[in-house]
């Protein structure tokens, strides 16, 4: 009666094998590495950088364990932290010949030391939280004044279109500090315009003024609108940061508002520190402007801005663009790499309603002319795309050219990253040292290990063979839990390790329930085989109920917790699930192997020495 069919045994063994496979990468640890990535969005590394890196290293006589090219960056595996620092200097020299204008970022890093075949089956080590492996912590300050100015600038554009639609003549709209000034020739036009503006732009407080026989409307944002703009700016920036960080592929990054105008970004165990900093710290703004063909040809710079355009072949040519800005980045709703109707790689851009209107107006009259998308980074502009207008655009259009799919992806990221509602600065950057993390891991590991050993010793003494079975089940539980955490790439934090220990302590409950039940059945006079069967079966209901209630608590923690609470909850919930599997199925399988095959089982070693009948009658 105590036999599992073959398929069930095989299934359990397969699950355990998976557990071993997916826990494996965690044992290999990490090796020091140096990573070179591009510091400017317009510079892209290619495979040829490998040769540069290898040459630099051999010139400096630094031995390394391999140079890899992956995902737009060059990574060098090194034997020691000493070599790591030397290699960093050597690579810095090789890739940034001009220290004033660094085109590349060279950063210290860690690389997983697990063999390739494990990575190939997607068995990756667990992500460790900031407290365990160190990592970067950014505090970003959002420029609220900038958000308001930006809004006023875009309102200027809206107003212009609006008045044109209504055929109201005006003598110019300018932004003056935090107010907008619209000029009119006579009172009647002004009144007409005021009504239109009041209806369509309720965020503005309007005051009439007369100045040297010009009629003015001075509009300022209402306090309410300002507050809303600031709140929206923070929210939009957080969303944008989320998108950018998702592009980095960080598991469970923390992106939170802190205080009124700050955003915290924590990237636990970030592999690509340099890229993270450049993507996050990129206070980029995007502008669309028309190319001034005449000025470009004559090389004149009067009344135009001359912007460098980096071509795909790497050369840089100046392009003259009109000072008037057609669109800014906040009109962009999104950008994606796609393919056009000819199956050529393209970037699909979508604009908001106002942006679409402007775009339509501009492109209607400019077919055949060129339009530039300019990205401003750290105060310097660079044209990332100069394209000829093929027809009238709406709020959705495509940018095409001789792009490769890789290039369209990165262009899409750039356009998206330009859509910050307000500029941001990194005002605090903290790096949590890996030594502190290692210390925390050691402590967490030690407490789990000693707890496990104590439980194991006790269980074996108390329940003999069945105690051993329970310990095996508990070990399987630990294995599966670690495998699951690795597989899901959940971030392990110190509270997470605490949850592993606590969950293991709780998981033994199921086995205790089973063992006690078996003893009770024996006490009541069942045969050993029947006692085993009844023990497992009858304990199951109790195990299910008690685990489900614990799971309810865990899920609530998962939903409402943040930070350490969440780290705890993830492990706790997974641990409950794995413990159900291991304490019921794995332990039953082992018990079956030990006792199931014997026909005439006289007694089982469950540590029971007392029977009511032998001692005294009831």
């Amino acid at each position: 009666m105590n036999r599992y069919p073959l398929w069930k045994n095989l299934l359990i063994l397969v699950v355990l094998l998976f557990g071993i496979l997916y826990t494996l990468p965690n044992y290999f640890g990490e090796v020091p590495a140096v990573q070179v990535s591009s510091a400017k969005s317009t510079i892209r590394l290619s495979e040829s950088a490998l040769a540069t890196a290898e040459k630099a290293l051999s010139d400096a006589r630094i031995s390394h364990d391999g140079v890899f090219f992956d995902n737009n960056s060059v990574r060098v595996r090194l034997g020691s932290t000493d070599a790591q620092i030397k290699a960093k200097d050597a690579l810095e020299h090789a890739f940034n010949p001009d220290p004033k204008d660094p085109g590349h970022t060279v950063a210290l890093n860690l690389l997983s030391a697990s063999p390739k075949w494990l990575t190939a089956i997607h068995a990756l080590p667990m992500y460790l939280g900031l407290d365990l492996r160190g990592g970067v912590h950014f505090l970003l300050q959002v420029d609220m004044k900038g958000a308001i100015t930006k809004r006023l600038d875009s309102t200027t554009g809206d107003m212009r279109t609006m008045l044109r639609e209504k055929d109201i003549r005006h003598g110019g709209i300018v932004r003056d500090g935090e107010s907008l000034v619209v000029r009119f020739r006579d009172v009647a036009t002004r009144d007409k315009a005021r009504n239109v503006i009041r209806d369509r732009l309720p965020d503005l407080q309007l005051v009439d003024k007369t100045e040297a026989d010009e009629q003015l409307i001075v509009g300022t944002l209402t306090e309410q609108a300002k507050r809303r703009i600031q709140e929206d700016a923070i929210k939009q920036n957080i969303v944008t940061l989320h998108n950018r960080i998702n592009e980095l592929g960080v598991a469970e990054p923390v992106i939170q508002q802190q205080g009124a105008d700050r955003i915290v970004v924590q990237l636990p165990g970030v592999q690509d520190v340099a890229k993270a900093k450049s993507l996050i710290g990129r206070t980029a703004t995007l502008e669309v402007r028309m190319v001034d063909e005449a000025a470009t040809q004559s090389g004149s710079s009067v009344g135009v801005d001359v912007i460098p355009e980096r071509r795909r072949d790497g050369s840089v040519i100046p392009v003259a663009v009109k000072k008037q800005i057609v669109l800014t980045g906040d009109r962009f709703n999104g950008a994606d790499a796609t393919f056009d109707s000819n199956q050529q790689p393209a970037v699909a851009v979508s604009l908001d309603a106002a942006g679409g209107r402007i775009m339509r107006d501009v492109t209607r009259d400019s077919v055949g002319k060129r339009m530039a998308i300019i990205l401003y980074e750290r105060g310097k502009g660079e044209a990332i795309s100069v394209a000829t207008i093929q027809g009238e655009f709406g709020n959705r259009f495509q940018i095409t050219g001789q792009f490769s799919p890789d290039e369209t992806t990165s262009l899409a990221i750039l356009i998206r990253s330009g859509s910050l509602a307000a500029p941001m600065d990194i005002i605090e950057e903290r790096t949590i040292g890996p030594s502190l993390g290692a210390d925390n891991i050691a402590k967490g590991f030690k407490s789990t290990m000693w707890g496990f050993i104590a439980i194991a010793i006790f269980m074996v003494i108390y329940y003999m063979v069945f105690g051993l079975v329970s310990v095996i089940a508990l070990g399987a539980n630990l294995l599966l839990l670690l495998a699951l955490l690795s597989l899901l790439q959940a971030t392990l934090t110190l509270p997470g390790i605490a949850a592993i220990a606590f969950t293991l302590g709780m998981a033994i409950d199921a086995n205790v329930l089973i063992n006690e039940r078996i003893r009770e059945e024996l006490r009541n006079g069942s045969t050993p085989q029947a006692a085993i069967a009844a023990g497992y079966e009858r304990a199951f209901g109790t195990i299910l109920d008690s685990n489900v209630t614990t799971l309810i608590a865990g899920i609530a923690l998962l939903i409402f917790g943040s930070g350490p609470v969440r780290g705890f909850a993830v492990v706790h919930c997974l641990g409950i699930l794995t413990s159900m599997f291991s304490s019921v199925l794995v332990s039953r399988m082992v018990t079956n192997f030990i006792y199931g095959g014997r026909r005439k089982l006289q007694s089982i070693a469950i540590g029971q020495i007392w029977r009511p009948a032998a001692d005294t009658q009831e």
Partner: protein, 312 residues
Amino acid sequence: MEFFRIKKDIPFMRHALIFNVISLITFVAAVFFLATRGLHFSIEFTGGTVLEVNYATAPQLEPIRKALSNDGFVDFQVQNFGSSRDVMIRLPNREGESSAQISERVKATLAKVEGPTAELRRVEFVGPQVGKELASDGGLALLLVVAGIVAYLAVRFEWRLAVSAIVANLHDVVIILGFFAFFQWEFSLPVLAAVLAVLGYSVNESVVVFDRVRETFRNSRKRGLSVEEVIDHAITSTISRTMITHGSTEMMVLSMLVFGGPTLFYFALALTIGILFGIYSSVLVAAPLAKWLGVKREQFIIQPKKKEEAVV
């Protein structure tokens, strides 16, 4: 080996009243300390500025405190953190002052203190909004846990058992909080996680006892037993498991308390208290409560046909 050789059911219920009075007293004391002393919330909840400074040699804390209060700081805390050379200074939030300004001022103050020079290692500023959010999220989590557990137990068992289990659990939670209030231990986010985990853990315990109660009621051979005897029987027959399970969990938690370092200390402490009271409350609070709410055999025997089915 066998610790428990119980020949007869232990008459727990006979002494229920005494235990309930004890519970009530501890509970009231916990509430009293919570009300009078309050919890010592960590910066995650209160908001404020934390500065971590490192000294080459261990500094005297008293002069630092004096210098800070001379320079007009109020409600600050200066304590060692990790080692005697690391000092943590906590300051509450004040309106119109940014963390950068505060840290500059503190740095200036520390420079004036005689002895080794301080090296600023970390400045952390937590806005009050974040704290508020955390507190309300924690409250919501607590509510959801309670509601979820009550609902599940009501469906699987009986509403009377659900109510008494949850009352017993909340009693545990309040007592843990009472300990934290009385000793003014720091109540941080990991401690909150521990408290909520205890809620799940302790209900686990009640479920095991109630499961036995239900089974005993349904057992036709034990039809002659009174409600009180049924509860006694259920507790007695699970007491061995109760002790061993909790002993094991406690071993794990104690290991965390000893080896886990300062970060895990209060977390493990909350769990330790929670486990100890968890055993007690499920056996001696939940069961009598269920009795007084009026559990009866009839509530568990729904359909005579289904009686033969396994407990599952």
